[in-house]
């Protein structure tokens, strides 16, 4: 069995219900995403009815570099459900998950695997591997929406920083504990966040994002300001309560692949 041996990590994404409302735009987006890595992809319509519009999907995306064409004008792809995802043993046997930068072995005639489709709110770990070449797949084989979601995730996840080191975690724990200890009785948020420890957490940079999300999930506190500063996003902009803001940030963290259930 021939295999590809190296893959480029592209990333993760999560679908929301809104993605299912405009399939055509997805196709265009997918073409654009693919063209950024390959060139001038040709994306056809798909059997959309197969796709059940669950609220969230996400996938880790690996892309084969060894078969990446440099001058290809057309990208053919095929996405099939990888059967082993739900079963940890089978998943392990198949080589999933692999550390970033390493590609699990796959049959050479495979266009792509898409794994990790799951229901709303759950952790979705998926892999899409797209070596090129061979016969053009049948359109009916293409689960375009899944492929779109994962390819889009790839682009979004390129911005994701590396995972925190144990030293990062220890530093964060110390600073977070100090901040909570010193500001527990402060009723003015804008003053509490000026505490030195909170500012030092922000100064850790984006590496603190997953740590802040974990803290927000496990020991809810006012970490949203630091998250918005570090990510330059505000998924909780429409929230009117702490709980709504917390839920929005955790959803964002899950979509970006920072945290799971």
């Amino acid at each position: 069995m021939a295999t590809d041996t190296k893959a480029g990590f592209l990333g993760k994404m999560q679908l929301s219900e809104s993605h299912f409302e405009n399939v055509q735009q997805w196709e265009l987006d997918f073409a654009e995403i693919l063209s950024s890595a390959w060139q001038a992809p040709e994306v056809s319509s798909s059997d959309h009815d197969k796709f059940e519009p669950e609220a969230h999907h996400s996938a880790t995306v690996y892309m084969s570099q060894s078969t990446l064409p440099t001058k290809a004008r057309t990208v053919h792809f095929k996405v099939a459900e990888f059967p082993g995802l739900a079963d940890p043993k089978r998943k392990e046997e198949a080589g999933f998950p692999q550390p970033i930068g390493e590609l699990p072995s796959i049959p050479a005639d495979t266009r792509a695997y898409s794994v990790g489709r799951s229901s709303a709110g759950s952790r979705n770990e998926g892999v899409i591997i797209v070596p090129l070449g061979g016969a053009r797949p049948k359109v009916s084989d293409v689960d375009l929406l899944t492929a779109l979601s994962e390819a889009q995730a790839a682009v979004a996840a390129r911005k994701r920083p590396a995972d925190p080191t144990p030293a990062d975690r220890a530093k964060f724990r110390k600073l977070a504990k100090q901040w909570v200890h010193d500001t527990e009785g402060i009723s003015i948020h804008s003053r509490a966040i000026m505490h030195r420890a909170y500012q030092q957490i922000i100064a850790m940079g984006p590496i603190a994002i997953p740590l802040l999300l974990e803290a927000l999930r496990d020991q809810p506190d006012h970490w949203m300001w630091a998250l918005s500063v570090l990510s330059d996003e505000d998924p909780a902009r429409n929230a009117r309560t702490f709980r709504q803001a917390r839920a929005a940030w955790l959803r964002w963290g899950d979509e970006k692949g920072y945290i799971g259930d």
Binding site: G185, S187, S190, Q219, P220, D221, R237, T241, F242, R243
Partner: protein, 175 residues
Amino acid sequence: MTDEDGIATARRLIRSLDGSTWDPKSSRNPAYNCFAWAARESNFWVEPPGTAPWACWPRDLPEWDTVENYVRAYSKLGFEECENGTMEPDTEKIAIFADGDGAPMHAARQLPSGRWTSKFGKGIDFEHDLDTLDGDPAVGTVVCYMRRPDPGPPPPPPAGLIVVDEIKEPDCVFD
């Protein structure tokens, strides 16, 4: 943080509680603050939303955390300034605390018993005598009293933070 931690934190930071009679009533809950609890609210964090866009604040008020603006905010809930914290029939009173620079720090609400209830930052609620807190560095000094017609029996102390992914909550109390 456990309830015991919350009580210990209040004891540690509000030194005037030592030797006084005070009664912890709720668990720690970062979803609401003293300014919300003074208005009987436990779903909201009341503060100008500069760094906390999710905070509850009257849309037509300046986003500055001054005593004057808190007075204006409470006015929207039927409060008006009054002279003191003495019990009056069919009246609910609140007290606004400020630091030495006049910046708001805390608010407390009078209970039908004559005692007062306070939410301590992100921490616990507790009942206390007003004199106990007045002047403590952790909460400041009372700089303003307000009152409104008694809206009825006060709400019980809320439970701790309820953590779920999707929450349908009422609009901001000022909306």
